[in-house]
Symmetry: C2
Subunit: 590 residues, 2 copies
C-alpha cells in the first residue's frame, strides 16, 4: 500500500470520527529516541524513516516536520507521497503549531495516540494553540486501524547486568531512589524511560536495536517495587533475582489500571517522559520533577568508570585494527562505505564483552560526510578512493560500557582546505578537552570553547558539541549535554559526555573528531573554588596525516602528544605486526 | 524606634489578624531594582539597606535573606536587631521556602503586600510550599500600619525625552507595541516596569535616585493608550504632547479599577513585572509573555548608538580628568574614598547633557574593593595612599546615554600578585571584547570567555560578566545579560551590555575592569552564517602601570594598542595641558 493510499484510509477514519487533524510523532510510549518497529507509525504514514520528525495529517493536507540532519533524506523519501516537507528552523517555515493555527477552522478537533505523546509536549501544544478553540481527542491511535501488518511488540529476553559491571546492586539503587522520592514528599514514583528502568534494575534486553532495553514501566512505592512487563521476557533466574530485590512482575498493559487504583498520597513523575495516557490515569496528587533515575544514572560510579576505561582499550584496539586495514587496503584498491562499516563491526564484535553496536555506523566518504547523520545504502553508497577524507562514526555496547567514537581519516592526498578544516576541528576538540572549569558550570556555558577556532575562521557546525553517554545503555543519554541551547544541568564528577566538533561543506567534505570524556575533580582553590576537568576516555590515534601542524598552538600540540603517548601505552600490548607498526607511527610526537 | 520595637509592633498586628508569617521583599509595585524611599519597607523592618534581600517575620523568628554581595554589610547592619542573617547560596543555609516549611505549622497563614510581590514570585512560592497546607493573605501591608513617618510617594516632574536623543517618537513606539500586541493575539497590554514606560513614552523624571523614572502604569489598547500617574507630575506641555500621541492621563491609584472593568478580550502581561494585586484585578483572559517593551527597548536604534558614542566621549574625558587628578594628587597627599567619589561626580556633572549619576559611585581602596558592592561611608571609609590598587566603578545619566565604567588604578607601587591578577582580569575583558560569535549565541554561552584566563590561574569572580544597560535609563536593564546562569536571550545588533570581569581577594585587593560594548553585525559566511561582534563604546585608558605585559598574548596586546589609539583619537581634542599629557602617555603602545 502506498503512502498516498494510507493517508487516504487515515482520512476516512478521521471523517468517521469528526477529526480534523491527526498528529503522528516519532516516539513510543516511553518517549524513546530510537523505537521498536511496531512504534514507527510516523514512518508508516509518511515513508520517512529518520529518527526525529512529526507528521500532521488534515483532511486536505499532510506534512512532515523534521530538522536539519534529515532534510536531504526526507526530501528523497517524501517524493510522490503527497506529504509536504517542513524544514524546521528555516526562515518562513511554519512550526507544527503555526500550521495547525493557519490550517484549521475555529473549533476543530485534533487527535493523537495519547500513549506516544508526552504530557510536556501536549501541554506545550495546547498552550501554543490557546488562542484558538480546538478540542483534543487524546486516545485515538488511528494509524493502528489501517496498519494491517503492524509488527508485534518486541519480546526479547531480559538478562541481568552483573554488579561487577554496574558497580551498584539493584537493591541499593531501589533503596536510594525510594528514599529520594520520600525526601521529595512523594509516596509513589512512576518511571517510563526504558534506559532509566534498565539502569535501576540492572537488566538489559534487545527490544530496540542498538539500545539494550526492555519495554516496560516501573512503579516505586515506599516498600515495594513493580515492574510492568510482558512476563514471557522474564525467565526464572531473572524473576528470582528481581523478587529478591522486592520487585513484583506485573502485566505490561495493567499499568494504567494499577495507577488508577491508587487513591491516596502523592505520585512523582517526569512530564517529559510520561505519556498523556499514563498521566490521565492518575487520580492522586502529582509531583512533577525530572526523573530521579535520570539524575542518578547520569553520574557514573567509580566501578563503572574503571570498567569503561577497559572497554575503551578494547574499542581503541578495534579502531587501530580498522584504521591499519583501511590505510593499507585503500592503497591497493577501492573500498565501499558499507564494506568499511561491515569491517569495523566485524572487528568490534569479536571483542570481549561485546553485546551490540551502540548505533548504526556512519561510514561516509568525502561529500557524503557533510551530512552529519548520513546512512550509506547499497543503492547509493560511495566508493572510497585513495584521496581525500573518510569519516567513521561508530561505537559498541559492551557489558562494561558504551563507546562512541568518530575519526576522520586521510585516505590519500588532501587539499590545503581539507587540512585547515581538519586542524580547526581538532583545535576545538582539544581546547575543550583541556579546559578546566568551575563547579557549577553547565554544558551550555562550555559549548563554544570547541567552536571558537572555527568561528574565528568563519565556520560553524549545526549540532551540539556533545551528548551524555550511557553505561551499556543508550548512546544518547541525559540529563547533561554540551550545547549552546540553555540548560541548567551542572557538570558533575562521573558524567560521561562526548566532545565532537565538526565542519560540514556540502559537496566537498565532512569532518568530525569525537572522543568521550568523563568529568573529574580538579584542584580546589581559595579564590576560585572547586574546579572540574575532563578526563579523555576514548583511546585511538587522531590522524596526524590530516593535520596542518602550523595551525596548532603549543598547548594544543602538547595535549596531542600527551594523548598519543597515552594511547600508545594503553593499546600497544594488544596489537602486533603491522598494527603495532601503525600504532607506533600514528602516535609519534609532532 | 528600634528594629526590635518595630518587629514587636508588627507581631502585634500579625496576632490580631491570625497571621503566622509576614514576607517583606525589597521591591516596589513595579518590581524595580532600586526603589523610592517610601518603598523601603524591608529596610524599615530590618535595618538592612542593601538593594536586594527579603525579610520574613514570624511570631517567634525574624530573618533576612540576601546574597553574597551584601553578607558583610548585612552582618553589620543586623547587629542587635534580633534579625537572623541567612546567607543565600551557602551550604546548609535554608531558602525562604525551606525556612517557612520548617518553621510554620500545617495550616499557617502567610501574609504580604500583594502590590510589591510579583505574580511570578508568588507562584514560585506557592509551588515550593505546595506540600504544606498554608493559606495566603495577599493584601496585607502590615508594615504600613506601624511605619508612622513613612515618606510620601515621590512626585518629581515628568520631562519629555527629545526624539533627537531617543531616535524614535512615542507615536512610533506606541504603534509598534500595539501592533505586536495584536499580532500576539491580545487586545490589551498592561505595563508595570517603570523603565519600560519611560522608554515607551519618551518621558523621564526623578522619582528614583539615579534612575530617571516616574512611578506609573501604562495600559495599551488597540486604539488608545492610558498612563496611570499622579497628575501633579504632568505639566501642561507634557500633557499636550502625550495627548497628541493619544495617551490619556488617569489617576495612578485607578489602575486596578480600570482593569477590573474590562470584560472582553485578551490582556497581555509579564508575570515577572506585574504584582499579584494587578493580576488579581483582571477579569479577562491573560496572555503571559515577557514585556514587549522590554524586548524592543533592549535593542538600541542607530540614533541612540550615535548618541551614546557622543556621551562616551564626554564620560571618557571626565574619567581622564579624574585619573590625571588622582595620579597627581596621590603623589602629594592622601585622598579619602569619598573625596575621590565626590571628585568624579563634580567633573561629570559639569558635562553637557548631564542629568544624574547612573548609580552611587563605588570608590574603594585596596581591601575595600574586594567587596564588589562596597559603599564608602564617612564613618568607615579608607584613606587612599600612594601604594597598591584603587577601584572606581561609576557612571552617569546623560540625555544622550547612560554610562557605567570601572577602572582599577595603580596609585603607587604594586606587588607582583596585584599585577598578575590585574593582567588576568584584563585578559578576560579583552578576550570577550574581540570574540566574534554566531548569531543565535546568548550571554550564557559567552560568559566564560572572560573567566578562562582567571580559571586557568585558579581564580573566579562571583558575579555575572555583564548586564544590559539602558539608554538614559536604568544602568541594569534586561532582557539580555552575560552570565553563566541559563538564559535564552539571543544577542542582537544594538544591544548594549557591560563587560566586567574581576578578581576579589578578601583583605587584599579587588580588581574590576569594565567597558560597555554594543552588539554589531560581523561578516556572514557560507559555512558559518551571520557572525556578530562587540563594538567597545567606553573610551578611557586602561592603566598600563598595572599590567604585566609578559602575560598578554599578541592578539591581546594588539587589541589593547588599537583600543588606546582610538581612545586617544576620540578624547585628545577635549583635554589640555597635564590631562593631554597624561592621556598621551596612558594610551601609548606597549
Amino acid at each position: 500500500m502506498s503512502v498516498k493510499e494510507r493517508i487516504k484510509q487515515l482520512r476516512n477514519e478521521m471523517r468517521k470520527r469528526g477529526i480534523d487533524a491527526c498528529i503522528v510523532p516519532s516516539s513510543d510510549p516511553h518517549q524513546s529516541e530510537y523505537v521498536a518497529e511496531c512504534y514507527t507509525a510516523r514512518t508508516f504514514i509518511t515513508g520517512f524513516t529518520g529518527s526525529a520528525g512529526t507528521a500532521i495529517v488534515t483532511l486536505e493536507k499532510a506534512g512532515l516536520w523534521t530538522d536539519g540532519r534529515y532534510f536531504v533524506q526526507a526530501e528523497n523519501q517524501l517524493i510522490d507521497s503527497g506529504v509536504t516537507l517542513y524544514k524546521m528552523g528555516l526562515d518562513g517555515v511554519p512550526t507544527v503549531e503555526e500550521f495547525l493555527k493557519e490550517t484549521l477552522h475555529q473549533g476543530a478537533k485534533i487527535a493523537f495516540d495519547g500513549k506516544v505523546i508526552s504530557m510536556e509536549y501536549f501541554r506545550g501544544l495546547k498552550s501554543s494553540l490557546e488562542s484558538r478553540e480546538f478540542s483534543y481527542e487524546v486516545n485515538e491511535d488511528l494509524v493502528d486501524l489501517i496498519w494491517k501488518d503492524r509488527p508485534q511488540k518486541p519480546c526479547s529476553q531480559v538478562v541481568l547486568h552483573d554488579v561487577v559491571y554496574a558497580g551498584e546492586s539493584r537493591e541499593s539503587k531501589l533503596t536510594k531512589v525510594s528514599h529520594e522520592m520520600k525526601t521529595m514528599g512523594a509516596n509513589y514514583y512512576v518511571i517510563s524511560g526504558l534506559d532509566d528502568i534498565a539502569w535501576l534494575l540492572n537488566i538489559r534486553a534487545r527490544d530496540v536495536k542498538c539500545n539494550p532495553l526492555t519495554i516496560s514501566y516501573v512503579v516505586v512505592s515506599e516498600k515495594k517495587y513493580y515492574l510492568f512487563i510482558n512476563d514471557k521476557k522474564i525467565n526464572s533466574d531473572v524473576r528470582r533475582e528481581l523478587e529478591k530485590a522486592n520487585v513484583e512482575i506485573m502485566p505490561y498493559e495493567s499499568i494504567g489500571e494499577f495507577l488508577a487504583k491508587i487513591k491516596d498520597g502523592v505520585i512523582l513523575l517526569d512530564v517529559a517522559r510520561i505519556s498523556t495516557w499514563i498521566y490521565s490515569s492518575i487520580n492522586i496528587k502529582i509531583l512533577e520533577v525530572m526523573d530521579i533515575t535520570t539524575r542518578f544514572k547520569g553520574i557514573k560510579n567509580d566501578i563503572q568508570i574503571k570498567n569503561v576505561r577497559k572497554a575503551m582499550v578494547r574499542d581503541g584496539v578495534a579502531m587501530v585494527k580498522f584504521i591499519t586495514w583501511m590505510k593499507k587496503t585503500i592503497k591497493l584498491r577501492d573500498i565501499t562505505e558499507i564494506e568499511a562499516a561491515d569491517k569495523i563491526e566485524e572487528i568490534r564484535s569479536a571483542g570481549e564483552n561485546f553485546y551490540d553496536l551502540s548505533f548504526a555506523s556512519i561510514s561516509a566518504y568525502k561529500a557524503n560526510a557533510s551530512m552529519p547523520h548520513y546512512a550509506a545504502t547499497k543503492e547509493n553508497q560511495a566508493t572510497i578512493k585513495a584521496q581525500g577524507l573518510y569519516l567513521l562514526d561508530s561505537g559498541a555496547q559492551y557489558l562494561d560500557g558504551t563507546t562512541d567514537i568518530t575519526r576522520t581519516l586521510a585516505v590519500g592526498p588532501l587539499t590545503q582546505e581539507e587540512k585547515t578544516d581538519y586542524t580547526l576541528v581538532l583545535r576545538g576538540m582539544i581546547d575543550l578537552s583541556f579546559q578546566r572549569f568551575l563547579y557549577g558550570t553547565t554544558g551550555s556555558n562550555l559549548d563554544i570553547i570547541a567552536r571558537i577556532p572555527l568561528w574565528n575562521a568563519g565556520m560553524d557546525y549545526k549540532h551540539g558539541t556533545g551528548h551524555g553517554v550511557g553505561f551499556f545503555l543508550n548512546v544518547h543519554e541525559g540529563p547533561h549535554r554540551i550545547s549552546v541551547i540553555p540548560n541548567n544541568i551542572v557538570l558533575k564528577k562521573g558524567m560521561v559526555v562526548s566532545n565532537e566538533p565538526g565542519v560540514y561543506k556540502e559537496g566537498k567534505h565532512g569532518i568530525r573528531i569525537e572522543n568521550l570524556v568523563v568529568v573529574q575533580e580538579d584542584e580546589k582553590t581559595e579564590h576560585g573554588g572547586q574546579f572540574m576537568k575532563f578526563e579523555t576516555l576514548t583511546l585511538c590515534p587522531i590522524d596526524l596525516e590530516a593535520i596542518d601542524v602550523a595551525l596548532l598552538t603549543n598547548d594544543e600540540k602538547s595535549w596531542l602528544n600527551d594523548y598519543h603517548k597515552t594511547v600508545f601505552e594503553k593499546l600497544s600490548t594488544y596489537v602486533l605486526g603491522e598494527e603495532l607498526e601503525y600504532l607506533k607511527q600514528a602516535t609519534g610526537a609532532i
